[in-house]
């Protein structure tokens, strides 16, 4: 794999514009190379390439004197995380989380607030996921109460330690209704502190009353809107995740040589550079 003379050309670029355009073309190169390397199975070359790229970007940041906003190209790029890359490259990965029955969407969020959304309608799941992501929450969507319980670790744990800050669930679902799910959650000592919000398209006062009595924080009428999601913020308690060391703080450690110090428990992600 050729090592492009990234460092020197970037350092020499006199104008910030040129520097940024160089950096953005390297970002393009990164995504292009990433695609190439998914086909290959050279894990080490991926690491060394990314190290070079991270170094290049660090030098750009350090050398830049402009007080302009970070241009779009240097903002977090959405690329595959390691486990996805390795899975698609056919490598086995003991870390690879097999969430086949759960749709998981990872967003580079600063607060690591993780919301679990439960709805049997695929359309409503998409809506609620998008709405929650506007508040930069990490969202996991499932299509049934049973799957929700699995994710929460009660029955047949998927081997994941997840700390959920909020559960938002539809009321009318086949199998287990939202109310039944609420009851199960409140009966479990490990989970009863998690705030639960119920959604429904039907305005039935008895239903609403029962849910609130059982411990739901709020009952939201569908269709859910942005204003409703804003209100949820007051219910969310963001807790520190002691079993997920990588998510504690978003700051990255850089050694004196500009190389990122790798945490063994952490999956390197190109996208989340902290801009000083």
């Amino acid at each position: 794999m050729s090592t492009a003379p990234i460092d020197t050309s970037l350092a020499r670029a006199p104008h910030s514009n040129e520097r940024y355009s160089l950096a953005s073309s390297y970002a393009d190169l990164a995504s292009h190379r990433n695609k190439e390397q998914v086909a290959s199975t050279h894990y080490l070359t991926q690491v060394s390439f990314l190290r070079t790229l991270i170094r290049a970007l660090c030098i750009t940041m350090a050398a830049s004197e402009s007080d302009r906003e970070v241009p779009e190209a240097l903002k977090p790029i959405e690329i595959l995380s390691w486990s996805d890359q390795r899975k698609s490259a056919g490598l086995s990965n003991s870390e690879a989380v097999t969430l086949k029955s759960v749709e998981e969407v990872n967003t580079p969020s600063l607060t690591e607030v993780h919301v679990l959304a439960v709805d049997d309608s695929v359309l409503d799941r998409k809506m609620i996921e998008r709405l929650l992501r506007t508040s930069s929450y990490k969202v996991t969507t499932v299509d049934s109460g049973n799957k929700a319980l699995e994710v929460l670790g009660i029955e047949g744990s998927l081997g994941l330690q997840i700390n959920i800050s909020l559960i938002i669930t539809d009321y009318c679902m086949p199998g287990m209704t939202g109310y039944e799910l609420l009851k199960r959650i409140k009966e479990t000592s490990a989970l009863k502190e998690i705030p639960v919000v119920i959604m429904s398209s039907e305005n039935v006062p008895n239903r609403i009353q029962r849910c609130l009595e059982e411990g739901a924080k709020e009952f939201i009428m569908k269709p859910v809107q942005l204003a409703d999601v804003e209100r949820l913020k007051s219910h969310i308690q963001s807790t520190c995740h002691i079993d997920q060391p990588s998510s504690l703080c978003n700051k990255r450690k850089f050694g004196s040589d500009g190389f990122e110090v790798q945490n063994p428990g952490r999956r390197p992600r190109l996208g989340e550079l902290a801009v000083a």
């Binding site: 940024y20 309608s121 359309l123 409503d124």
Partner: protein
């Protein structure tokens, strides 16, 4: 100007959809959720709605053909359909669903059949109109205009960084070069053409 003509068409189509009650405020909410990081959100939602609805309509047709009709099942499907159509803002479909549920509760088979016919008609109507709407937006993009969603400013930033000619750095109205300051107002037409 091709783009201006297309944009006029889009405005007229959108207005008629709202005025004739095909769409309600929820659709506007959807459009607001579309931005630079989710540029195809409305299209994706419409696609999901179309797929999901076709599935439900097929199930409903089947459920009403068998003997005896399981009205609880019919009611459950209609409830689903009502939910998804209200999530997308398809107002007229929602209204027919209400009637349909009343027929199902009364176990009125003929009423249910008629309601199903009506729902199918309304569904195909709104689906075609939404597809026309989305197609117009695509045409506007291709002709050099900007997509609705207020992401024009970000696109301009990208153009500046990459230093390449991107269709979005020209005003749609007069195809003049957009300066940074004018774009910052996020207006759809430049001040001289507006």
């Amino acid at each position: 100007m091709e783009v201006v003509r297309l944009q006029q068409q889009l405005i007229e189509l959108t207005n008629s959809l709202f005025q004739e009650g095909f769409l309600d405020d929820q659709f506007t909410q959807l459009q607001m959720l579309q931005d630079a990081s989710n540029p195809d959100f409305v299209q994706e939602v419409v696609n999901l709605f179309a797929e999901d609805s076709e599935r439900i309509l097929a199930e409903l047709t089947k459920a009403l053909e068998i003997e005896p009709v399981d009205y609880k099942k019919v009611d459950a499907y209609v409830h689903q359909f009502k939910g998804s159509s209200s999530s997308i803002g398809a107002q007229r479909i929602k209204a027919v669903c209400v009637d349909f549920r009343a027929y199902a509760e009364a176990e009125n088979r003929e009423g249910c059949r008629q309601a199903l016919q009506q729902i199918k008609q309304e569904f195909f109507l709104v689906k075609n109109k939404l597809e026309a709407l989305l197609q117009l937006e695509q045409q506007i993009l291709a002709a050099g205009g900007r997509k609705k969603g207020g992401d024009g400013l970000q696109k301009l930033q990208q153009a500046d960084v990459a230093n390449t000619a991107v269709p979005f750095n020209l005003w749609a109205c007069c195809q003049q070069d957009v300066s940074w300051e004018r774009a910052a107002t996020n207006a759809n037409f430049c001040s001289s053409c507006a």
